[in-house]
């Protein structure tokens, strides 16, 4: 059994990162993720790691780039506006094939937006984390515990793929206090440092280099290899939770904090006799296409996209799997206004009671 603690989501992420082998963090203050750098500023030195408060988001992600090139498990965290600033560096991480963890504790947008929680960065996370047409795996946990489990293993994916990994949560989940079971500390040895790393602590005795600059044909080949990698993620790495979908006539699609509010509503609607279920993407990229595509559309009368942002950003990914076989509805709150139980219940009720299962 792991160690049980009552922790804030952001602090749980930070501790899980340390236990997952993170030994370098650089970041810049921005609400609502400040507990991550604050925690790591004292925690990393305890385990022989290094914390730097960067002069900017741009500098911070480039510090991570440097540390990652040495094979050090490195991360940065921020919220929407700061992730935009990191976009350059994240693109360079992908280009130089460097593993790293990026955490976005998202808030209202666009622009400076609000400092209150919102799920306003789905499109940025899944479609274009930076220029140049690359993807990172995007995980969207819906509890402090799930965040711990995902962050703990984030570098396993990042190092397997030599590619950055994004964990996308909103300010609610970052600041929620929940019981978490913490996994044991991973012990990483110098001799296990990857061969490509520029560190020589693994005994490498020949010249090594890492660059994001390539000649045309090599770059084209790397682009194609990345495309194959994204396809493989779809085959192997989709994480998704299905809740009461077996007989569902209406299927909610929601991730992160929205999925928790929606689940409550679905339980209440089930008690009223409405056959509602939920598909919860845990990986937003790769998106759980098959779960939506393979629903029995002779039974399913509607898909309801619930997100804490307006307009819904996941809707097009859903529609590409539904392909017009049933209507797609959306409901959300935005700008830092939270989804609440009553609002979500009533929104789903209006859709399902207006349909053929009325009564």
């Amino acid at each position: 059994m792991g160690e049980k603690k009552f922790m804030k989501g952001n602090e749980a992420i930070a501790e899980a990162a340390v236990r997952g082998g993170c030994r370098f963090f650089a970041g810049y203050p921005i609400t609502p993720q400040n507990e991550i750098p604050e925690y790591l500023s004292w925690r990393l030195p305890e385990v022989g790691g290094s914390y730097v408060q960067g002069e900017s988001e741009i500098a911070s992600v480039n510090m991570v780039y440097g540390a990652a090139a040495m094979g050090t498990r490195a991360m940065t965290s921020s919220s929407g506006p700061g992730i935009s600033l990191k976009a350059e560096g994240i693109s360079y991480l992908a280009a130089a094939m460097l593993p790293a963890l990026i955490v976005n504790i998202s808030r209202g947008g666009p622009g400076l937006g609000s400092i209150q929680p919102a799920q306003s960065d789905y499109l940025q996370a899944t479609k274009a984390l930076g220029h140049g047409g690359f993807h990172a795996m995007v995980f969207a946990p819906n509890s402090a515990q799930e965040a711990v489990d995902i962050v703990y293993d984030a570098w396993e994916y990042a190092e397997r793929d030599r590619n950055p990994v994004l964990v996308l949560m909103d300010g609610c989940l970052g600041n929620i206090m929940e019981e978490v079971e913490l996994p044991p500390m991973k012990e990483l040895k110098d001799e296990d440092l990857p061969e490509w790393s520029l560190s020589r602590r693994n005994g490498r005795d020949y010249q090594g280099n890492i660059t994001p600059i390539y000649t045309e044909l090599i770059l084209e080949g790397l682009n194609a290899a990345a495309g194959e990698m994204y396809k493989a993620w779809e085959e192997d790495d989709v994480k998704v939770e299905e809740f009461m979908t077996e007989d569902a006539e209406y299927v909610v699609v929601a991730y992160g904090i929205a999925s928790r509010v929606a689940k409550e509503a679905i339980i209440n609607l089930r008690e009223q006799g409405f056959k509602v279920g939920m598909i919860r993407p845990i990986t937003l990229f790769p998106f759980p296409k098959a779960n939506i595509k393979n629903l029995d559309y002779s039974r399913v009368k509607g898909i309801i996209d619930i997100e804490m942002t307006i307009p819904a950003q996941m809707r097009e990914d859903i529609e590409l799997q539904v392909l017009g076989r049933c209507p797609v509805y959306e409901y959300g709150r935005s700008g830092g206004v939270l989804l609440d139980d009553e609002g979500v219940y009533e929104a789903i009720y209006e859709i399902v009671s207006g349909g053929e299962i009325d009564g």
Binding site: R23, F24, A26, S50, V52, G54, E55, S56, I58, A59, S60, N62, M63, V64, Y65, G66, A67, A68, A69, M70, T72, A74, E88, G89, Y92, A96, L198, S199, R200, R201, D205, Q207, G208, N209, I210, T211, P212, I213
Partner: protein, 247 residues
């Protein structure tokens, strides 16, 4: 007579630098000093963007190529992870004094224990000769076709002077590579900076005044004279900070 041969840290391929460009000499000096200190395998070159990026074609030691202006940030991540390495960033003036101004000043202010070699040729060479933050007043570039006018573009930035106002840096110096005397002094300055780093003393900064025959539209020899009459009077060579001496 000393034997003159190729440094083992310079790969056996063309440098890519234009004829008469002092970048070649600057990298040669850096590689010679690293060899002399026996740090070949332990050194790590953080290569920035601009003509300095041509280093990726022929630097024979370990290197990491990074984004424009971000070398001091990447070097921070490297050195914090692997303090035993001899880490240096090799940056040009557009890279360091314009887009990377925040990174260089902040790394210097934190006293990061690495060295920055700053090649100042007063232009953006790689992109075809636009105005740099270090372009001299009156100097013609593709974006100051009548000469740099301080009324709209301000004045050339003096990085050694700026960085030496900070508490943390332990060695800040500028040398001109247009004379044998300047080259000898530069070599000694680079060596001193690397030695201080190896002793864990903190941030070291060596500015090398260089040229750009192609974009200055001069012969190599004309650039050396231009440096004497224009560059050096404004960017005065010298040691701006040396905490070992200043104490």
């Amino acid at each position: 007579m000393a034997e003159y041969k190729r440094s083992t840290l310079i790969a056996d391929s063309p440098s890519g630098y234009c004829p008469g460009c002092l970048h070649s000499l600057a990298t040669r000096l850096v590689s010679d000093v690293i060899e002399e200190l026996g740090q070949g395998d332990n050194s790590l070159n953080v290569i920035s963007v601009g003509c300095s990026a041509l280093n990726i074609l022929y630097w024979g030691g370990d290197f990491l190529s990074v984004a424009h202006g971000r070398a001091p940030a990447a070097a921070t991540g490297i050195k914090r992870s692997n303090p035993e390495r001899l880490v240096f960033a090799y940056q040009g003036d557009g890279d360091l004094a314009a887009i990377g101004l925040s990174e260089i000043m902040s790394a210097a202010n934190r006293g990061e224990n690495f060295t920055v070699i700053f090649a100042n040729n007063q232009t953006y060479g790689m992109t075809g000769g636009q105005m740099a933050p270090t372009t001299l007043i009156g100097q013609k570039t593709t974006t100051t076709v009548y000469g740099r006018d301080p009324a709209t573009t301000g004045y050339p930035m003096k990085m050694c002077e700026l960085i030496s106002t900070l508490e943390a840096p332990c060695y800040v110096a500028r040398f001109a590579l247009n004379s044998p005397k300047g080259v000898r002094e530069a070599r000694a300055g680079i060596k001193k900076a690397f030695e201080l780093q190896l002793q864990g003393k903190g941030f070291t900064f060596v500015e090398l005044l260089t040229n750009c025959p192609t974009n200055w539209k001069m012969t190599p020899l004309q650039t050396l004279d231009y440096m004497n009459t224009n560059t050096i009077p404004y960017f005065k060579p010298g040691v701006y900070k040396d905490t070992e001496v200043d104490k």
